[in-house]
């Protein structure tokens, strides 16, 4: 498998507290991988290192044949903007912006014209069932709606990798199911890789493969090489 994103022996500590102790993971193009583990195991830290949000203390983070951890802050920001998408548990929407402006934000940051960026954003909102909510601010949306806006924003730039950290953590089961269905469908349509951090087995079941992080190291739990068939059967099983 040619990995599109990879961590090699990543070590990361916060002060005296180690979070990752030589974590290794490789994820192929179009693959949906669920990263599971108990609280404090380091799964979110692994996602942050893989996405260039954090720089490992030791080890390497690679994306599409390029080392991420040696890039400057600005270069990593540009990679996040142009190649990655993000859906976090909460707090990732800009409260002062409307839903459509939030979705258009990565495009605007990349230099797209406002009208074009908003048109693209509206299209994505429509695809995710949020027609008519584009002018609302995040405080005027339900949790599930806000999470779908975040998903639209994550997908609007056509990311090669979508990072999702407990994307249904603050949602009820119905909303969570809807968000996960939309996310996996959109990712597969775009051919995006998804790295999904969750502690919820039902969410993890949407993935092609599951890995488990325990005490800062990654172990394989289930899964096979990515294929449309596996994914489909996985979803069919639900």
């Amino acid at each position: 498998m040619n990995a599109i994103i990879e961590a090699r022996g990543v070590v990361k500590s916060f002060g005296q507290t180690p979070a990752l102790r030589g974590a290794c993971i490789a994820v192929g193009p179009g693959e949906i991988v669920a990263v599971m583990g108990p609280s404090g195991s380091g799964k979110s830290t692994l996602l942050h290192c893989l996405s260039g949000i954090l720089v490992p203390d030791q080890g390497e983070a690679w994306f599409a044949g390029q080392r991420l951890d040696t890039l400057t802050e600005t270069q990593r920001s540009e990679v996040r903007r142009d190649k990655f998408g993000f859906v976090f548990q909460s707090g990732q929407l800009v409260p002062e912006l409307t839903a459509e402006e939030n979705v258009a934000l990565p495009l605007l940051l990349g230099g797209a014209r406002r009208a074009a960026a908003l048109a693209e954003a509206r299209a994505w909102l429509g695809r995710l069932g949020l027609d008519g909510l584009g002018r609302r601010r995040s405080g005027e949306l339900s949790g599930g709606q806000a999470q779908r806006v975040a998903l639209a924003r994550g997908m609007v730039g056509g990311p090669q990798v979508l990072f999702a950290d407990e994307p249904t953590g603050s949602l009820d089961s119905v909303s969570g199911e809807m968000v996960m269905s939309l996310m996996t469908r959109a990712a597969r349509e775009q051919g995006s890789t998804v790295i999904l951090v969750t502690h919820d087995a039902r969410v993890a079941a949407y993935a092609d493969r599951e890995v488990i992080v325990r005490d800062g190291t990654v172990g394989s739990l289930t899964g096979a090489a990515p294929s449309a068939g596996t994914a489909q059967s996985s979803e069919a099983a639900r």
Partner: protein
Amino acid sequence: MIRLGLRLAVSGGREAVVRLVIVAIAVGIGVGLLLTAVSAANAVNTQNDRYAWLDTSASSPSQTGSGGGHGGPAAPLRLLLTTDEFDGQTIYRADVAATGPDSPVPPGIPQDPGPGQYYISPALSALLRNAPADELADRYPGHQTGLIGQAGLPSPDSLVIVVGRSAAQMSHLPGATEVTSFNTTPPGSNGGVNRGDGLGAKGLDLVLSVVALALLLPVLIFIGTATRLSAARREQRFAAMRLVGATPRQVSLIAAVESAVAAAAGVAIGFGLFFVLRVPLAAIPFTSQPFFPAELSLSLPDILAVAVGVPAAAAVVARLALRRVNISPLGVTRRVTPAPPRAWRVLPLLAGLADLGFFAVHGEPASNSGQVLAFTTGFALIMIGLVIAGPWLTMTGARVLARRASRASTLIAARRLADDPRAAFRAVSGLVLALFIFTVAAALIATQDTKKVTPVDGAAAGNTLIDQFLTITDGGSATGSAPPPPATVLTRLRKIPGVQGVVEFQADPGLTITNPQLQIQGFPAAVVSCAQLAGVPGLGRCPAGAAAAKVPASLTDIGGGNLAEFTWPAADVPARRLDSLPLASLDVATNGSQPAIEQARTVLENAYPAGTGSPPHTLGEDTAAANGADNAFQQLADVVILTSLAIAGCTLAVSVAGGLADRKRPFSLLRLTGARLGMLRRVIVLESAVPLLAVAAVAIGTGFTASAMYATMEMRLSLVSPGAAYYILTSAGIVLALVLILATFPMLRRITGPETARTE
């Protein structure tokens, strides 16, 4: 990015707009004060320049021809500049006689008045119209030929008259000189004529520097507090942007645009505030004289510096501040406890005290500019030092509180204070500075009050008009005299209703007097007839059986005491010799009524024309003039104290409300878990009260220490404790601060309701 920044600044929802408005108001107040301070400095300079021509003498420097000047030497102008009084106001009088068509002309009038004519300021013209002629108009020979324009008037209330004379008349006026031009800038460092009222240029420089500092620093803190409003929300927003790929540069550009927009709105408010307040401000006699409103003006560089500089500075500061915060894509989710403040933070405060202490021990710098630099540096270091040391003092207080905490509210408040003492102190920093300023002002004014001229006289002597022809030189000798008054003058004086007696003091060169109670030793003495003195009991009495007595030659140059109770030593001067001695002063005892004093003054001025000694004045007027500067200081101090307290109150209210808004979620969660509202209220009060009380104690102590050092070196006095009003007002200020905190309680109840805990 600029467009996105603009979008976020002006239409980012209610919270963003409220933030924009509060920041704009804070910046507006700051800019308004800044513009007022700059324009006031300009106006003071213009006013001093306008006094310059009234200080022209034959050898004056910095003269510019305002008449003649057609290439060749101008025909000189015979000139005598004197001052006069009416109802406690100073009248500036110029007697002039042109010697040719190109003789210099005083500013503000088209030509030199001829004999029998005079030009007059509008204020004096109004006074002449309203006052009886025998009280004022009769002092000026001739008729009004025109008004003096603004160019010749220091102030709209200035009482100025330019009296035309013939050359022959001028030759009889003692002290008249010939000039070829008028001063356009004040000679020397004293900044203008010895006006005898208001603040001197040296005092003004220093006072304006301290006032600017005392006002601008609280305003800067207010602006800083306002810009940090919703800081948590902004950090969350910037973190979200960083997460989706905004580079640090893009985020800092957006922050800079937001700040610049708020600052630009603030600049507009500031200019509006300045222009609205300009006219009423011009009427406040900061220099003991109001300004012409047009002179509270700004130069083009002033306007450009503020209009461009403030938004630019706001943008730069926003970028720098954000660089320091270094918002990561995870933003507030991985907030790291800031490093605790270190003890070095008290060093600037100690450096300020050391600066003042050094000059207190070694003496103040000789030059005016050196003194201004020394004092403003010291006070600036102390004020900035208080702001820098505040977080460390807050943390120290919080740690003490945490060790003793037995209730949940105390523990939460103490831990939060210890965790981020900078934020906690920021809320009260304006108030702490205001307390420092108040303490310094109150202590120095109380000390200055001990220097106030105490009436030398008792009421009777205070109402005695003294026309003194003899002056005491720096060497302590007496010089000058006048011929005895004609009988007609004495008759006219005695006929004035309210005049109780007239007494002539005769100059007797070489005669001295010593009196410990009046603080004089070997002081030049004059001789007075005991028969005359008996008619004016307010000036003391003769020993029994004496024909003449020895009295101080100048009653205005001696210490305090009730003259009516003095028995002067007998003078061994035969009556015949007494009559032959020249006149040292002619004193007219009145009942204190204005008509009596002014009518007597008019008679005396006509009897002894301008230039013969000093103009007639009462001892009461002398006392009032000497204390005029103190009253101006007091007025200025009141303005500074009230303004800085008001700004500090705004800072506290905005800061506490902003802190509540930022923590509404944790507080609402605490309430959900059963915490009572009362407990949260105690947390809020403690969070503000601890830094307020801890640093206020230091500020007040530092204020007294700095004042004591300033009093020692500049005023040559020991510090005096301010009166009860200071302690009452200080306590009231602190109580008011606590009330302001209590005023946020309804907001606490509203924003910590269960609905706030809803996940976004």
